[in-house]
């Protein structure tokens, strides 16, 4: 139960705060209380895995897993969450009205994120995963009056929703493969080989990871999401949301096949370099940090991929990954907060306008310098240990072309990190510049980054204790087995390749910082080349969009009348196919011996009238031709000695033509003349059908009965008339009744109309 409470409490409180945002309330106190409770609760009530019934029919359970991995993530979520809540108070003081909403969203997000990391049931995981996407949409679009915030939020939700669908597909495939919904059981099944990897599962799961954790080619939403308030960026886009993909990669590692793991390592390493490159180019501090987050997420994916590929269970790689994860979450969170402080004081984040700003706020400058040193990995900081162990890991791998490529890329990414980090600090401490600083820095804003960098201090003092308490359990959970040897940390490993790589990073990095301006110019040259490529992409996209719009337009404007045409088409196809398949043409023969000249003339008249109707342009002409067809048909009846039928036909024809003319009087649009093949086809099929009707066939029982009984029973020689008025007389009478009722209602309507007219006058 404590786990459920942990996930549900912030979610419920957060949603309630969003709903009641218009009322005044001590939002900060509520949020702090909830976060405090979350941090303290596991200390009082030990958490444990739990499972509750949910949809037993489908085997879904509300099951939660508490192990080293989920605990590590939960620690980050709750710990950094509490710090961010405090920071938000300082950041949002100018805008107390929207404070409650922001706190509500953050709390709800905490709940959803805890749900993601604790869920063992795949459906629970998916639901929470989507919740984080939706809530992050709300958080990024928080300043919804700004166009960039709306665009950024939109891009983020589109990309992450795509990932959500991919995750659902992956869940579906894994379920079909194993028949269960528990992630722990999936891991066991895939590890033991009782379930098989498939490319669909690989691709879908990777898409989910790559979209959420901003891997190439889905990394562009993360810089766009920087329009969010800074506390949100510090929390979502450094510490938690973007790590959800990494979490899934770690949690469901067994579900990936070997080839996909290689792909993940490759994409991770490319993302690391690409992100560093993007960060060097940026002048906006927050966007720079976002690109750098992309880069570090690439490193994390690469590490987890290496772990998955390793023969020995990948313990070393997992340990480095988990260590790097914690280090990055703290350092990047602190950096975001410091950027927020500078932004608040100087009203800009553009590094070109911020020259020398730290000289006016030296305390902030010192803290920022320390954090940045930690981040770029200067010796005797946690970042140094992190980078060093990454290089050691690569060194320990079997030497091959791929390993050398990996090493080069890792060095390149580290050089990039060094360049943008150090260049930023140097610039902000620089001489000159006319940047004004307003107001003082509030305690609520400078305490949080200090708390976060305390991690580096704690780790520096007792590295092994922290490792065995935090990192090892998580690694146990990922590698799904326990081991004795813990990760050993030391500052000096002897003269190894890793040392040379570190030296290369510092040397190249220093050169890069010194030649920053030239570096930027060179990069810009590269960008121009890329832009040409992009123009091709834009052209393709425009073509696709235009043609899609065209197709949609045509489909949406199909006139309703053509719906009937489609039914006729179905009829023609079905009946025509049946005719072709079943009717024997040789049996069809019509007697044309007794056809007279008169009949020929009448038939010719029918044909002429029909053709005239088809080609006529004016409505009146069409109706008149239709009437002519009817008249000729009644003539045909006369010639066939059926005056009663002829009279009936004449009456019906007259009435219906009059009716049509009456309606057309009110119809103003000109007719659309269109000849199409469909009526011709219908005509052909009907002709063939009537020809078949003329095939002589043996008399059936009902034929014989009516022919024989016509005179004796009803005293009428005309069988058709006898059927109408005698054998089925009741039907005829009821039909007459129906017509009479209809006539009555017509009369009533006409009278109402006449009355209204009189009133009008």
């Amino acid at each position: 139960m404590p786990v459920v409470f942990l996930c549900a409490a912030p979610l419920v409180v957060g949603l309630a705060m969003i709903a009641c945002a218009r009322y005044r309330m001590p939002a900060m106190a509520i949020a702090m209380t909830v976060m405090g409770a979350l941090v303290c609760m596991p200390l009082i009530v030990p958490l444990s895995s739990a499972s509750y019934a949910w949809v037993p029919a489908l085997g879904w359970t509300l099951s939660f897993v508490v192990d080293g991995l989920s605990s590590l993530f939960a620690m980050l979520i709750c710990g950094i969450g509490a710090v961010v809540v405090l920071y938000t108070h300082g950041y949002m003081r100018e805008c107390p009205k929207k404070m409650t909403t922001l706190y509500g969203f953050i709390l709800a997000f905490v709940g959803a994120m805890l749900g993601v990391v604790f869920a063992d049931d795949a459906i629970v995981l998916f639901v929470c995963w989507e919740l984080t996407s939706v809530l992050s949409f709300g958080l990024v679009a928080f300043w919804n009056g700004r166009a960039d915030a709306r665009a950024g939020a939109w891009r983020a939700i589109v990309v992450t929703a795509l990932g959500g669908i991919a995750l659902l597909v992956a869940i579906g495939v894994a379920w079909m493969e194993t028949g269960v919904w528990r992630i722990s059981e999936w891991n066991a099944a895939f590890a033991s080989g009782s379930a098989h990897h498939s490319w669909l599962l690989d691709v879908a799961l990777f898409l989910a990871v790559a979209t959420k954790s901003a891997q190439l080619p889905f990394s562009r939403w993360l810089p766009g999401a920087m329009a969010a308030p800074t506390p949100v960026s510090a929390y979502l886009h450094a510490a938690t949301l973007v790590k959800a993909g990494v979490y899934v990669l770690a949690r469901m590692g067994e579900l990936f096949g070997g080839p996909m793991m290689i792909g993940i390592v490759g994409i991770g390493v490319c993302t690391a370099v690409w992100g560093a490159y993007g960060a060097v180019r940026q002048t906006d501090a927050k966007r720079m940090l976002a690109h750098s987050t992309v880069s570090q997420l690439g490193v994390l994916c690469m590490l987890l991929g290496i772990g998955g590929l390793a023969q020995d269970g990948g313990i070393a790689a997992y340990a480095v990954a988990m260590y790097h994860l914690v280090h990055h979450a703290c350092a990047k969170g602190a950096l975001f907060m410091l950027v927020g402080i500078v932004d608040h004081a100087a009203q800009t984040r553009d590094v070109r306008q911020l020259t020398g700003v730290f000289r006016r706020m030296p305390a902030v400058g010192v803290v920022a310098t320390v954090v940045m040193a930690m981040f770029v990995g200067l010796p005797f900081t946690s970042g140094f240990a992190s980078k060093e162990s990454l290089f050691l890991l690569i060194e320990a791998m079997r030497t091959s072309g791929a390993t050398i490529f990996l090493g080069l890329c890792a060095v390149l990414a580290s050089v990039g990190t060094f360049v943008y980090g150090v260049a930023w600090i140097v610039r902000l401490w620089g001489v000159g510049g006319s940047c004004a600083v307003h107001g003082d820095v509030r305690a609520a804003m400078w305490i949080p980054p200090l708390v976060l960098i305390a991690w580096g201090v704690v780790w520096g003092v007792v590295p092994q204790t922290v490792t065995s308490l935090v990192i090892d359990p998580a690694v146990h959970a990922i590698a799904s087995r326990t081991f004795d040897t813990s990760m050993q940390w030391s500052w000096w490993h002897g003269v190894t390749w890793a040392l040379w790589m570190t030296i290369a990073v510092f040397v190249l990095g220093t050169i890069g910082v010194v030649g920053m301006a030239r570096l930027r110019a060179g990069l810009a040259l590269g960008v121009r080349g890329l832009r040409r490529l992009r123009a091709v992409g834009v052209g393709c996209r425009r073509t696709v969009r235009m043609s899609a719009a065209r197709i949609a337009y045509v489909w949406a404007h199909v006139p309703a009348g053509r719906g009937a045409g489609i039914l006729w088409l179905v009829w023609v196809v079905c009946v025509g196919a049946a005719l072709v398949l079943t009717v024997d043409v040789t049996q069809m023969h019509m007697r044309i011996g007794d056809v007279s000249v008169v009949a020929m003339i009448v038939v010719a008249g029918i044909v002429c009238a029909a053709v005239a109707m088809a080609v006529a342009r004016q409505r009146l002409a069409i109706v008149c031709s239709l009437g002519a067809v009817g008249l000729f048909v009644s003539l045909l009846y006369v010639w066939l000695d059926a005056p009663d039928l002829a009279l009936t036909q004449l009456a019906v024809e007259t009435i219906s033509i009059a009716f049509v003319l009456f309606v057309l009087r009110h119809y103003k649009h000109p007719p659309r003349a269109r000849m199409s093949a469909l009526p011709v086809l219908v005509g052909v099929v009907v002709t063939v059908l009537s020809a078949i009707a003329l095939i002589p066939r043996p008399k059936t029982a009902i034929d014989r009965f009516t022919a024989a009984q016509s005179v004796p029973a009803a005293e009428g020689a005309n069988v058709v008339n006898v059927i109408l008025v005698d054998f089925r007389g009741l039907d005829t009478m009821l039909e007459i009744v129906v017509i009479a009722v209809a006539a009555c209602s017509v009369v009533a309507m006409l009278r109402v109309r006449a009355e209204r007219k009189r009133e009008h006058e």
Binding site: A141, V169, A560, G561, C574, V575
Partner: protein, 493 residues
């Protein structure tokens, strides 16, 4: 010679329909004496619907399983459940209608005419005989046509005319198909017909008849490519009538298709019919979503998105192939309930934010969060359900259908269906979230003049559907088990 007798006990079996019939007669007469306020007629109609609802619930609880008129009308658990869903939907529609500014010529009829239309839909559910089916279908269609045509604006008349032409042609084709089957078997009862049909002797006739029947019902459901009327007619009707068309009429036609397929078509030509339906469903899923992307007029948007939902509702039928099992029926019913909740809710939202005298447009939601925050919250819940995002009834409904398609239908067909559903869902985010985007972001164009009008019935409908969607999303298992339990013996037997 057998005599046809209708006993009082038979009328009890048909109680829901009888209550509706009595109600509509009384209300029509009452309307003649009433001069001023017509809202009371609407409330009266609501009371009648509640009476019928109570009758249907009682039948469900008592496990009524009986036939009337030699089996032409059957009341069993499944049909009672369907009737309850239809009645609830109609209650929602009436809730939207009450208080809507009068845009029609008539006054009392704009409430009372829903009842015969609903009666037609309910008879369709229970009918086990072609003539009853046909008459019920016509009752539904003609009442709807009048409802549409009563609108004062010319667009309403045009819509009614289009439905007359298309409804007439499709009814003619239905009769055409039925006449072939009657010719082959000499009966109009589903069960007898199914036992007498002989595929060996009259294969081509029967196949033509089956295709004609499926095509004409597809017109009523508005599956692509028979959807041409749906957009214009949906946009031409006033909002509550459009809701009725999109929910009650559509569901009734889908139920009819299920019933006809299971009772008559599948035992003889399952492969042909399933293939035809498979093509229709796939084309509908693709075309409807793509079409909806371009719509900004809300009624057209929902007319098109309704096509996609209807196609989804047919997936369990074609996934099962021959005879749907209890799971398929349950999944269908679950999604039907979800569909009613989200669509009725959506139309309530449209009606509440709509300015009289204009066509409902996406822009009417602009900045709603700042004008009416609570209404906006409810609308967000409904849009989540429509788009199939958790935690909502629509999400689980779609998920059940997806899993059913994957698990029941082997090979590529199931994967194609599942892939189309997934891709369609992704596309649908784009057009459903346009509404949310409008609500949350301050309007850039002209600001909609009024805030949401306080209309208690429509508000109740909106909140009922929003909360219902969320509740079903939180506890989908509860409803699934209840439904499975209720229909287990009907469907298996």
């Amino acid at each position: 010679m057998t005599t046809i007798t209708l006993r009082l006990s038979d009328l009890v079996i048909m109680a829901p329909e009888c209550i509706l019939l009595l109600g509509v007669v009384v209300l029509t007469l009452a309307d003649l004496w009433m001069k001023s306020s017509r809202t009371s007629i609407g409330i009266g109609a609501l009371v009648v619907l509640c009476g019928a609802l109570a009758a249907a619930v009682v039948q469900l609880v008592q496990e009524t399983d009986a036939t009337v008129l030699f089996g032409a009308y059957e009341a069993d658990a499944f049909s009672s459940l369907c009737k309850i869903v239809l009645l609830l939907a109609a209650c929602g529609v009436l809730g939207i209608a009450i208080g809507t500014p009068n845009e029609t010529h008539a006054v009392g009829e704009m409430y009372t005419l829903y009842i015969p239309a609903l009666m037609g839909a309910m008879l369709l559910v229970s009918s086990r005989e072609w003539m009853t089916t046909y008459v019920a279908l016509e009752l539904l269609t003609i009442s709807t046509i009048v409802l549409i045509g009563m609108r004062r604006a010319a667009i309403g008349k045009e819509a009614a005319m289009k439905l007359i032409v298309l409804g007439g042609v499709s009814s003619a084709f239905l009769l055409y198909g039925i006449s072939f089957l009657y010719g082959c078997t000499g009966t109009t009862y589903y069960e007898v017909m199914a036992s007498r049909l002989d595929m060996g002797q009259d294969a081509s006739l029967i196949t033509i008849a089956f295709v004609m029947i499926v095509a004409s019902i597809a017109v009523k459901i508005a599956l692509v490519p028979f959807h041409a009327w749906a957009l214009d007619v949906g946009a031409g009707a006033v909002v509550p009538v459009a809701a009725f068309l999109s929910v009650v009429s559509k569901l009734a036609a889908i139920i009819l298709l299920w019933r006809v397929c299971v009772d008559v078509l599948f035992p003889h030509a399952a492969d042909v019919v399933v293939d035809v339906l498979f093509v229709l469903v796939c084309v509908s899923l693709v075309v409807a979503h793509v079409l909806a992307l371009r719509q900004v007029t809300l009624l057209r948007l929902f007319a098109v998105s309704g096509i996609a939902h209807a196609a989804l509702l047919l997936v369990p039928l074609i996934a099962s192939g021959t005879r749907p099992d209890v799971d398929a029926w349950t999944i269908w019913l679950y999604y039907a309930v979800a569909y009613v909740l989200m669509n009725v809710g959506a139309f309530a939202a449209i009606s509440l934010t709509h300015t009289t005298g204009t066509q409902p447009h996406v822009h009417q939601f602009a900045g709603l969060v700042y004008r009416a925050p609570w209404t906006a919250v409810a609308i967000v819940c409904i849009v989540l359900s429509l788009a199939g995002l958790p935690v909502s009834a629509g999400f689980f409904g779609k998920l059940f259908i997806l899993l059913d398609a994957l698990s029941q239908r082997e090979g590529t067909a199931g994967i194609v269906l599942a892939a189309l559903i997934v891709v369609g869902t992704v596309i649908s985010f784009a057009y459903y979230f346009r509404i949310v985007r409008q609500m949350f972001w301050r309007p850039e164009g002209p600001v909609p003049p009024s805030s949401v009008r306080t209309r208690w019935f429509a508000q109740t409908v909106l909140w009922g559907s929003a909360l219902g969607s969320v509740a079903l999303g939180c506890a989908p298992g509860w409803l699934m088990e209840l439904l499975a339990q209720l229909i287990a013996h009907t469907v298996v037997s």
